[in-house]
Amino acid sequence: MATAPAAAVRPASSAVLEPAAHATFTFDDTLARYGAEIYRFALHLTRNRSDADDLYQETALKAYRAWDRLPCDANHRAWFYRIASNTFLSDKRKSNRLRSLDADGAAEAIPAASRDDDGRLDAGALLREVEAFIENLPPKQRVALVQRKYLDIGYAEIAAILGCSEEAARRSVHEALKKLRERFGDRI
């Protein structure tokens, strides 16, 4: 006889977003769940390991301190990304310096994997220019592009992370790509 079980069993995947979640999911659980992708986001934003490590550490600390004030029904993933993204944007504003290309920075810069090595002229140089282009985008466009292109995050969530409308998030990515086309279209 097919009857519904008496006790409601919650699917594990949705549990973290349910209102009761905050009481039973600890900060450690949440960090364990999203830490790796937040670190990846930090690597994409900073493009070097030291800055990514710092951004990740700072993000985790801020998240930890704010954890108590987080509403129970908050989207923990978007919240984490938002802290990382705001930290990055405000660091960027504060220092307003570009990625240092001094000896240390160059040694630590993350090597781009699977570069096109099939003999096309200046492929490596072009990639470095594209990297530099991404770094010099207006910060919000850069965050939106990184999230959409490299982290496969949807616009609704990008909007939640950046605190803008979904349409504005989509437009940021679109504008960044149009600029990319203008800059590199005839050289590629």
């Binding site: 009481a23 039973t24 600890t26 900060f27 450690d28 960090l31 830490g35 790796a36 937040i38 670190y39 990846r40 690597l43 994409h44 390991r49 490590d53 990740y56 550490q57 985790a60 600390l61 930890y64 108590d68 993350i110 090597p111 781009a112 994997a113 699977s114 570069r115 096109d116 072009l126 990639l127 470095r128 594209v130 990297e131 991404i134 592009l145 990184v146 959409r148 292109k149 490299y150 496969d152 995050i153 949807g154 616009y155 609704a156 979904e166 349409e167 989509r170 990515v173 679109h174 790509l177 149009k178 990319l180 086309r181 590199f184 279209g185 590629i188």
Partner: protein
């Protein structure tokens, strides 16, 4: 729902490119505007089909599509990160004890029991305290609270401590138990208060001591008032029997959980006292 290249589906409902092109003056405008979306995986399968159909007939747009696809490849290559750096570094975080708490019934009202893996941390008179408010208190005391509806949902060590405390309290309230042997976790309690509470824990069932008496026992005979204050902050009432400590004039003294509870506990242990004129520690 159709997705392209394994990316998340488009979040907004917009008309497809085919329909947009049929409404536009020039379908090439629609095609070129859609190309940036293509390289970040925003196009639906239908949009992709229309785009490919259009570019098979239009050389300008076909060129533009090739350019964008190469830009997409360049972006992907420029953004690629070696797998061996993807492991997050260890974090240097302030540590908090995880405290599991749950609610039980008792003849003196709801009790909230809170335990760590090391022992019972707190007993709170819970009748007028909501779980959320209690969790906030725990956090202010530097703990990381985890609420469980059922004791068996706590982690194994905390669960053992909660179960033992609940069982022994139930026996105590049922008149079947005089002493407790639940492991206690004093946390980061200051040494003076801990000495006061440990001395208090030695006062046997049905017996009384005084604030001055406890002060003498811990070797601080002048600290009567401080003993009263320390007992007023007793985090583990009932099991650390601060209800057995009264004023030297044999009046009842104070009780953080309410004097009625102190009297109730004492009468359960066969001790009858009249309330003093000034209920304070």
């Amino acid at each position: 729902m159709a997705t392209s290249a394994g990316k998340a589906p488009r979040q907004t409902t917009t008309i497809g490119l085919k329909e947009a092109a049929s409404l536009a003056d020039d379908p090439c405008d629609v095609a070129c505007e859609a190309l940036p979306a293509r390289i970040v995986g925003d196009l639906t399968d239908n949009d992709q089909s229309w785009l490919l159909e259009h570019t098979s007939e239009c050389r300008y747009c076909a060129n533009e599509l090739r350019t964008y696809d190469r830009l997409g490849d360049a972006l992907a290559a420029a953004g690629a990160i070696d797998a061996d750096v993807l492991e997050p570094p260890p974090l240097n975080m302030p540590r908090r004890d995880r405290v599991w708490y749950t609610r039980i019934d008792s003849p003196i009202g709801d009790l909230i029991l809170a335990a760590t893996s090391h022992g019972l941390r707190e007993i709170e008179f819970g009748t007028d305290v909501e779980d959320r408010a209690y969790a906030d208190q725990l956090r202010q005391r530097g703990a990381e609270p985890v609420h469980v509806d059922r004791i068996e949902d706590a982690n194994p060590e905390a669960r053992a401590n909660l179960e033992r405390a609940a069982a022994q309290l139930s026996e105590y309230f049922g008149g079947q138990r005089a002493g407790f042997d639940v492991p206690l976790d004093w946390g980061a309690m200051p040494p003076f208060q801990r000495a006061v509470l440990e001395a208090t824990a030695d006062v046997p069932f049905g017996h009384l001591d005084t604030y001055a008496g406890i002060a003498r026992k811990i070797g601080k005979p002048g600290a009567t008032r401080a003993v009263g204050n320390a007992l007023g902050r007793n985090p583990i009432p009932v099991i650390v029997p601060c209800h057995r400590v009264i004023r030297s004039d044999a009046t009842i003294g104070g009780y953080t959980g309410g004097l009625d509870k102190k009297q109730r506990l004492l009468s359960l242990e066969g001790v009858m006292l009249s309330p003093g004129p000034r209920p304070s520690h």
